[in-house]
Amino acid sequence: MYGKGLRALSLATFAALTATFALVFFYAPLDADQGFIQKIFYVHVPVAIVTLCAYVLGGIFAAVHLKTHDRRWDLRSYVVIHIALIFNVIGLLTGAIWAKASWGHWWVWDEPTLVSFLIVFLLFATYQPLRFSIEDPERQARYAAVFAVMAGAFVPLNFAAVRAATATVHPRTFGTANGGLPSQMAWVFVVAIVAMALLFALMCCYEIAAKQTRWQLRALRRRLLGSDAVAPLGRSAAPALGEPSRSAPHESGRGSYPAEAPS
């Protein structure tokens, strides 16, 4: 019952990633002055764009949680931010590699995208410690949502401020008069963004499904073996989905977990 459509999504992601890498290596033209290393652009930029959009999305999910008090939105917000942090690290690393290859330094301060990316990373890296230091799961969800809303709004503002602060050497991908991409590159780039977005969505779906499955397994074990057989929960930064068995009536009999009742 969990993870519906995961297989289709996995296949689509696999196909999109394969197509992206095939296009990057065999179709996209070599950059005139950076040569082969410019190909990292098709990983770095899509990852960065997906990361930033995901942070904003995490903030929106958190706002929905604050409005509805539905714990599933907290789970979604948590998972989106969690995966976005991983993408953020990948974006930072690929950015550093590209910077080393094309400008000769691992870290370049007059490079607004990289710098604002680092600041955003440092901010969101506090999301998990914040959650971890609050024990009550309901309050943890609420406080984390407040943080996620603020941090989600922070992303575009920070981006604008850092970009304004630096004399840019970063290529603007779209919209500028002479920095625009040739159409072949732009086309591959769009495919790469779609592939990365799919990969992100797939990882989120897997994590949500894994968490839900784990919680259901726990609830079932409690019902079958009694609550003494299941170890109490330790502190965790991950959202707790609540104990379904606690709300379910106990006289309904062992083994007949309400969610599994025949329809």
Binding site: L123, P129, I134, R142, Y143, V149, M150, N158, A165
Partner: protein, 223 residues
């Protein structure tokens, strides 16, 4: 508005009877200037360096105040009092942000004077009007973000650790803007005009985070 004013007066009275945050922040800023003198190995600073020393010092001093902001509420049951009273919960946010703004302004009166005497190379007088505006906007940013982060951290296990790691990245854009605003004021050749771009960025930051914090503060007091 009346509840906010009452809560603010309570905080000011508390600080006057048992001064705690303001003297600590003051001593912190002065000792930091001394440390910068030795750390940088300079007798005088100007331009971007001076702006950076002043704004970073004020930011770190503000962290001290942010750490203490809700301690009395937490320890003496002030949260329950606010929840029991028939008032809007955001009144507490407005009062705390205004209180932090006033504390910071008070600290800055002495801190800027000490900075001008100890470290600043050019004369501070021509820079004063621009500096007032810059510091007022910076205080606004520190006050709204500080009040929210303080309320967020006060009921966590590791509040002294959570406050700086959350507040510092959140305040980075405000620091960038304030440091860029102050740099031409402290220019070696005498104060220059404020760059309007950074004025706009800082004002926008104040506005956006002020409204956001006002909107979400409610949820931090919900139990």
């Amino acid at each position: 508005m009346r509840p906010s004013v009452a809560l603010l007066r309570k905080d000011l009275l508390l600080e006057r009877r048992a001064p705690e945050a303001v003297p600590a922040m003051l001593l912190f800023t002065v000792i930091t200037f001394v440390l910068f003198h030795f750390g940088l190995g300079r007798d005088e600073v100007s331009g971007q360096l001076a702006a950076g020393v002043l704004t970073v010092t004020l930011l770190f001093a503000a962290i001290l105040g942010i750490n203490r902001l809700f301690v009395s509420e937490q320890e003496e049951g002030g949260f329950d009092g606010v929840l029991l009273a028939p008032i809007d919960r955001t009144a507490l946010f407005v009062a705390k942000a205004a209180g932090l703004f006033l504390f910071l302004s008070l600290v800055e009166v002495v801190a800027v004077a000490a900075f001008a005497i100890l470290l600043l190379a050019p004369s501070p007088w021509p820079a004063l009007p621009g500096l007032l505006l810059t510091l007022a906007l910076l205080n606004g940013a520190l006050a709204v973000v500080g009040a929210l982060v303080s309320a967020l951290a006060i009921r966590t296990r590791a509040r002294d650790l959570i406050v700086p790691i959350v507040a510092l990245p959140l305040l980075t854009p405000a620091l960038i803007a304030a440091a860029r605003l102050a740099a031409p004021l402290f220019a070696a050749g005498g104060a220059q005009a404020l760059p309007t771009k950074w004025l706009a960025v800082l004002a926008l930051y104040d506005l956006v985070f002020g409204l956001l914090a006002y909107a979400v503060f409610d949820f931090l007091l919900e139990d």
